[in-house]
């Protein structure tokens, strides 16, 4: 079976935080302890919704050393493919679900002398676990957290209450914005910057830091892409000797899984590289959406990341 090992869990707590975000707590179904993890890790939550199985990654936000329960916060996306709506509307306390072992693609670099966290909206969640980890290690950190408005500022009160000196909050509707250039200028040597939030914010932080002469290795970011819907297309899987149809609302990876093909994956969000697949033949155009492949790979027509990327055209033959 592909992906990280699975853990059967029970939903033990559901707490709506505001109009968009709800927190879920999971405990092991067998009553045992969950594995510890490192701040920034995510788990892939399996959602069985009738005939459809969705698997979405969510950052773990609980204390990485707390093995009794994991918590995640899910932002409702009314335009999405339905994963977050399923979590918000169908999941109840006491439900049995399956999650994956934690996987970390956004870990702290513990060689850093200081950690500078930049969060946008629901992008706050990995930092909540990282802050707990750093507090235990007596690490030096600072958080700059931008939210659309006061009512959508998940965990703002908890952060400003526990860490008043480290936490800086910005509300878009009050005209507050992170003064990024000024913030980066003058950070002590050995500072690493971490950003999690909307794509525009990630691009802005990466570019500004690079322009200010920050080393690439000191700039960390995480953006999970949800697979976007698109036109249906047909794929021939050469190794499995199958021809499959990818529906409008499902990803190529999900279509392979639905057809009984055990394709590799880990993050399901275009970031980790596990699902990289060789293209044997094609006539048409790729719609590459991942962060993994280099631009040259995208242009070559020889590789695709089936978790988020799609295809439009006559034929596509994959080495799977």
């Amino acid at each position: 079976m592909s992906g990280a090992a699975k853990i059967p869990v029970i939903v033990t707590d559901i707490v709506p935080l505001n109009g968009l975000v709800t927190r879920f707590a999971f405990k092991r179904a067998d009553g045992g302890l969950l594995p510890t993890f490192s701040g920034g890790a995510h788990t892939v939550v399996e959602m069985r919704d009738g005939d459809i199985t969705r698997m979405n990654p969510y950052s773990l936000m609980s204390d990485p050393m707390d093995q009794t329960a994991y918590t995640i916060s899910v932002r409702r996306d009314d335009q999405g493919r339905g994963g977050s709506l399923f979590m918000h509307q169908k999941v109840k306390v006491g439900d049995a679900m399956t999650i994956s072992y934690p996987v970390n693609l956004f870990s702290l670099d513990l060689r850093a002398k200081k950690h500078l966290f930049l969060a946008g909206g629901i992008g706050i969640t990995p930092f909540l676990a990282q802050i707990k980890q750093l507090e235990r290690l007596n690490g030096r950190w600072e958080l700059h957290y931008a939210s659309r408005n006061k009512s959508l500022g998940s965990y703002v009160d908890m952060l400003t209450d526990r860490h008043p000196n480290e936490t800086h909050i910005y509300y878009d509707d009050e005209g507050q914005a992170i003064d990024l250039k000024h913030l980066l200028d003058g950070q002590p040597l050995g500072t690493h910057v971490y950003v999690c939030g909307p794509k525009g914010m990630i691009d802005w932080v990466r570019k500004t830091a690079q322009d200010e002469g920050w080393p690439r290795e000191a700039i960390h970011y995480e953006e999970f892409l949800a697979p976007k819907p698109g036109k249906p297309f047909e794929v021939k899987l050469a190794v499995s000797n199958k021809i499959i149809q990818v529906g409008e609302q499902e990803s190529l990876l999900e279509a392979m899984e639905r057809s009984g093909v055990d394709a590799p994956y880990l993050c399901r969000g275009g970031a980790c590289g596990q699902c990289e697949t060789d293209v044997i033949d094609y006539t048409g155009n790729f719609i590459h959406r991942d962060h993994w492949l280099e631009q040259a790979d995208h242009a070559s027509g020889r590789k695709i990341m089936p978790c988020v990327s799609r295809f439009e055209g006559k034929t596509l033959v994959l080495d799977r």
Binding site: R111, D185, G186, L189, D211, E212, G213, P215, E217
Partner: protein
């Protein structure tokens, strides 16, 4: 030109680069001897306005040429050891955006690379360019003593006196290559020393 093409070696051996100017809030150059030529090769007035050059001439006559570049700060010292407290202070006061350029002998670059890494700069973000002598800074794996400027292989440890074989096995932490006793099995059977790259 004071450049040397090092022959292919094991992965442990450091690979030095070529300096290029990068945008940054400040620029720290640490060089010895012929390394000055690499600085002169890339210096621009804009870079020098924000530059601090720490130079150990070791008999080379480039100090006046470097000063003529009009760096914001210039220091000339007799040895790396003499300059090391200045290097440590400069790095501890530095801010993100600092660009570090190391050039000259492997011993100088290795030690300055270690200091910059300790200060929190990822080693891949530190620029280097080898110039001048190809002598090595060697650590005796037996007594742990450091012998500087080793030009021949084998050589005698300056601390314990063992005859040491010059390996390509390098320690980034110690900033030295490893020297291993060459005649342990048959004491006194030591090949005639020759140049490391001969």
């Amino acid at each position: 030109m004071s450049r040397f093409d090092f022959p292919p070696a094991i992965k442990s051996r450091p690979v030095w680069g070529r300096l290029e100017t990068r945008t940054g809030s400040a620029h720290l150059f640490i060089a010895d001897a012929d390394g000055a030529e690499a600085i002169i090769g890339i210096a621009t007035p804009e870079i020098m306005e924000k530059a601090h050059i720490i130079y150990i001439p070791r008999g080379a006559g480039f100090a006046a040429d470097l000063q003529a570049l009009k760096p914001k700060q210039f220091y000339e010292g007799p040895s790396y050891a003499a300059a090391s407290s200045r290097i440590a202070k400069t790095l501890s006061d530095a801010k993100m955006g600092l660009q570090v350029y190391l050039t000259g002998t492997e011993g100088l670059m290795g030690q300055a690379l270690h200091a910059a890494m300790e200060a929190g700069i990822p080693h891949t973000a530190i620029q280097t360019e080898h110039r001048g002598s190809v002598a090595r800074r060697m650590q005796c794996v037996h007594c742990k003593g450091i012998t500087e400027d080793v030009e021949v292989d084998p050589f005698q440890c300056a601390h314990c006196g063992l005859n040491l074989f010059v390996r390509d096995h390098y320690s980034r932490r110690i900033a030295a290559y490893q020297g291993v006793c060459i005649d342990a099995e048959d004491p006194g059977n030591v090949p005639a020393p020759k140049g490391i790259y001969e």
